[in-house]
């Protein structure tokens, strides 16, 4: 990482840390706030967070890697999340995921080469009565069909 980039990163991290107390209880909220700001958790930040809380880097990384919400690589511009909860599964959710994979030519957990889209599968958004469900960024789409996938992804391709 270029030096100016790294300095910028540490500045953002210090801004985030300034609103937290130096207590272990704050670790997950710190990681959440940082990811909200940067979109992911850069490896370079682990050490400073560990110092801040007085714990080891492996402890920080151990916690961060346990929870599925945390990403260690930058996501695409639009994060596509397909729900694979039970109701969505029973109403064809797997086929929606397969269609998205084909349209974007990536697997879940991956990002397209142009960094436009990332794909994740989620256990449940709690929108079960309107299954199957898909999220693009903060926009929730219910009653999904394989035909709707292409139309919806196109809305974001052109943004």
């Amino acid at each position: 990482m270029a030096k100016t980039e790294e300095q910028g990163l540490h500045k953002e991290l210090r801004e985030v840390l300034s609103s937290f107390r130096r207590e272990r209880e704050e670790l997950i909220p710190i990681l959440q706030k940082l990811q909200e700001k940067l979109g992911y958790l850069p490896e370079e930040t682990i050490s400073e967070i560990a110092d801040f809380l007085g714990i080891s880097e492996s402890e920080v990384f151990g916690v961060a890697s346990f929870y599925t919400m945390f990403r260690f690589v930058p996501p695409g511009e639009h994060i596509v999340k397909v729900c694979l909860g039970t109701a969505c599964h029973v109403r064809g959710g797997e086929e929606i995921l397969e269609t998205v994979k084909r349209e974007l030519d990536i697997n879940s957990g991956e990002t397209t080469k142009d960094s436009k889209f990332s794909l994740e599968r989620v256990a449940c958004f709690g929108c079960c009565a309107l299954a199957p469900v898909m999220l693009v960024g903060k926009d929730l789409y219910a009653g999904m069909t394989t035909e709707k996938v292409k139309k919806i992804l196109n809305l974001y391709k052109n943004r």
Partner: protein
């Protein structure tokens, strides 16, 4: 702050709102309502009403539970009953403004029903409809009625009167009231709540904690989300009452990160409570000090388990620990901690607001009160329901749920999420309570109720649940981590034509071992979906293993799609829709699917306007080798 004055003012405001001089419009805007287009409806209302010269008050409310007919808009004209309209579109909004608000035609053709007093000709009462008639709305009483971001609406409807009452009682008397109500934990375990509070209350130590488990990890369950979005204070009041009774000065709400609207509404609600002195020191001039913090989950199903949840709050990996010691004695940071589910806390508030009899009068001998369920899957009327314990599955699926989508054949109800089981039609007349579902091999669980039909493969369902729990296993226990993995491999083999009959016995043996050898509920109950499907749907397993057939035509290795020559019109629709160009045949030529290229996605099956595509299992269909003109079929 004088709470009595706050109450009086809240009631005045509330009454003024409903003795409306101008129309009042309520729009459901919970997460699922928004997914159905509610925000668009709100936009249209705000733009169009001034254009039509109508001055109305618009309030966003939570979910009343009729998810199958979202978006919902309720209109209350001055002097008229409240009318609920379902499946509202922007076009229908404009029609309702013109037809009802201006021309006084309530459009019975669009109305679902009326609420409250008064009738309108041609429109039934909403609560007379089969979907609502047998429901008992205690926990959900305010959902769809109040603005969840306005604490005064909650207060005007009896909100926090339970807390006021509790603070005038001794801690022991509050606990006794909960015991008398018969309230049992609504998170799934069904442990008597009064006893749980008492254990923590009696535990030695001055620092105690209460926790609200709002992780709601069971896929297919959204009861807690709906309640927190529609009526967060009903839960918060319960937490305060419990904290007082137990002697806790600090509380945490652990809400999953996948529920951003619920988290936002909780933040707003907590802010309002602080403003009114309902949190902090000396609450309502009592000696009770209490502070509440909101913690966001980070995407781990295992953190719905109480000890893993506490580890997560402490900033550690969400791995459970053995008990004893139980959280009531040694929980968060080793201090006595009482952890309850969202719905349990909400019920506690009801008990103190309305008395222990308000719960005890419903239910069965062993299980009192009501339960919210998310009724989803292959039913016509999916949604959030609240029913008294003792109601049967048949009443839920057929009366409330309206029966199976497309009038297909019922197969099973899955209750209890990944910890539960699949119950076939022989259990439709089982009254629901903790004991009866346990005897059947399932559990009440948190309230997820997924209905499946003849097109659902029960082997696939078992595979689905096991792959979920396998992914979510924290890895601590060898038998959970490795045992579920091996069970999953066997199930995969069964769905992929790689299995032998002995695999079923091996599955059952592994299942029992995993149950016994796991530290926490995740591992202990992960085999349940497999065990119940083997118990009640063994024939489906044997069809996969011996006949290489999937009766429900789901498992891709066992199905094939064919285009029927005598139905195909050669219209090219399926060919264009096919994502892998597996269909050949020009216009007016019978199309043929190349079986070697077909990925069994079913797109052609859905796309064909002539129902010419069939899905078969262990069958073959006679089709031409190469495309031939449509005219050369028999009968032409």
């Amino acid at each position: 702050m004088n709470f009595e004055d706050v109450q009086k003012q809240a009631i005045i405001e509330w009454d003024k709102l409903w003795q409306n001089e101008k129309p009042l419009i309520l729009v459901g805007s919970a997460t699922c309502s928004r997914a159905a287009g509610a925000l668009n409806i709100l936009d249209v209302l705000r733009k169009e009403l001034p254009k039509y010269g109508v001055n109305a008050t618009i309030i966003e409310v939570g979910c009343i539970g009729l998810c199958y007919t979202e978006p919902l808009v309720d209109i209350i004209k001055p002097g008229r009953p409240r009318i609920c309209y379902g499946k509202v579109t922007p076009e229908l909004v404009k029609q309702l403004i013109q037809d009802y608000l201006i021309d006084d035609n309530p459009r019975p053709d669009l109305a679902l029903g009326t609420l409250g007093d008064g009738r309108i000709e041609g429109i039934p009462k909403l609560f007379d409809l089969s979907v609502l008639r047998t429901q008992v709305r205690l926990v959900l009483r305010n959902c769809g009625y109040i603005d969840p971001e306005n604490i005064n609406h909650y207060i005007a409807n009896g909100g926090y009167s339970g807390l006021v009452k509790a603070l005038k009682m001794t801690q022991e008397d509050v606990i006794e009231e909960i015991k008398k109500s018969g309230l049992r934990g609504r998170g799934g375990a069904g442990f008597p709540t009064g006893l749980k509070w008492e254990l923590c209350h009696k535990a030695p130590g001055s620092q105690k904690y209460v926790i609200c488990n709002a992780d709601e990890g069971d896929p297919g369950a959204f009861m807690n989300r709906s309640l927190l979005e529609a009526d967060p204070h009903s839960v918060l009041e319960g937490i305060l009452i419990g904290a007082y009774a137990i002697g806790a000065s600090r509380g945490y709400i652990y809400c999953r990160t996948e529920y951003p609207l619920a988290l936002e509404r909780l933040r707003i609600a907590i802010g309002h409570m602080e403003k009114y002195g309902l949190l902090g020191d000396n609450i309502l001039d009592s000696n009770f000090d209490f502070r509440l913090k909101l913690k966001e989950g980070a995407g781990a199903f295992v953190c719905g388990e109480e000890t893993a949840l506490m580890a997560s709050i402490e900033g550690r990996r969400g791995m459970p620990r053995s008990r004893p010691p139980f959280p009531a004695i040694s929980g968060l940071w080793g201090k006595p901690t009482n952890i309850n589910n969202v719905e349990t806390w909400a019920n506690a508030a009801i008990v103190l607001q309305k008395g222990w009899e308000s719960l005890a009068k419903y239910g069965t001998e062993t299980t009192k009160g009501t339960k919210t369920f998310s009724l989803v899957g292959k039913v016509k009327r999916t949604g959030l329901i609240e029913v008294p314990f003792g109601i049967t599955l048949r009443e839920i699926v057929y009366d409330i749920g309206g029966g199976i989508l497309g009038d297909k054949k019922f197969k099973a109800v899955q209750t209890g999420g990944p910890s539960g089981g699949c119950l076939p039609s022989s259990f439709l007349d089982t009254p629901i309570d903790y004991e009866s579902l346990k005897a059947a091999g399932s559990i009440v669980g948190s309230g997820g109720m997924i209905v499946t039909d003849e097109d659902t493969c029960m082997v696939d369902i078992a595979h689905y649940f096991l792959s979920f729990t396998q992914k979510e296993s924290c890895g601590k226990c060898v038998l959970c981590r490795e045992g579920t993995r091996q069970m999953l491999y066997i199930l995969e083999d069964i769905t992929k034509d790689k299995s032998k009959p002995e695999d079923i016995d091996l599955l059952s043996e592994l299942a029992e071992t995993v149950t016994v050898g796991s530290l926490c509920g995740l591992g202990q109950t992960a085999p349940n979906p497999v065990l119940t499907t083997i118990r009640y749907f063994r024939d489906e397993y044997m069809a996969h293993i011996i006949e290489k057939r999937c009766p429900a035509k789901v498992c891709k290795d066992f199905i094939s799609f064919y285009i029927l020559p005598d139905k195909c019109e050669g219209c090219l629709i399926c060919r264009r829709a096919c994502p892998v160009e597996a269909i050949k045949g020009d216009k007016r030529m019978i199309h043929i699917i190349d079986q070697s290229k077909c990925i069994k996605c079913g797109t052609c099956y859905v796309a064909c306007p002539f129902s010419a595509v069939v899905k078969v299992s262990a069958e073959s269909v006679k089709v031409p080798e190469e495309p031939i003109p449509v005219r050369t079929r028999k009968g032409d």
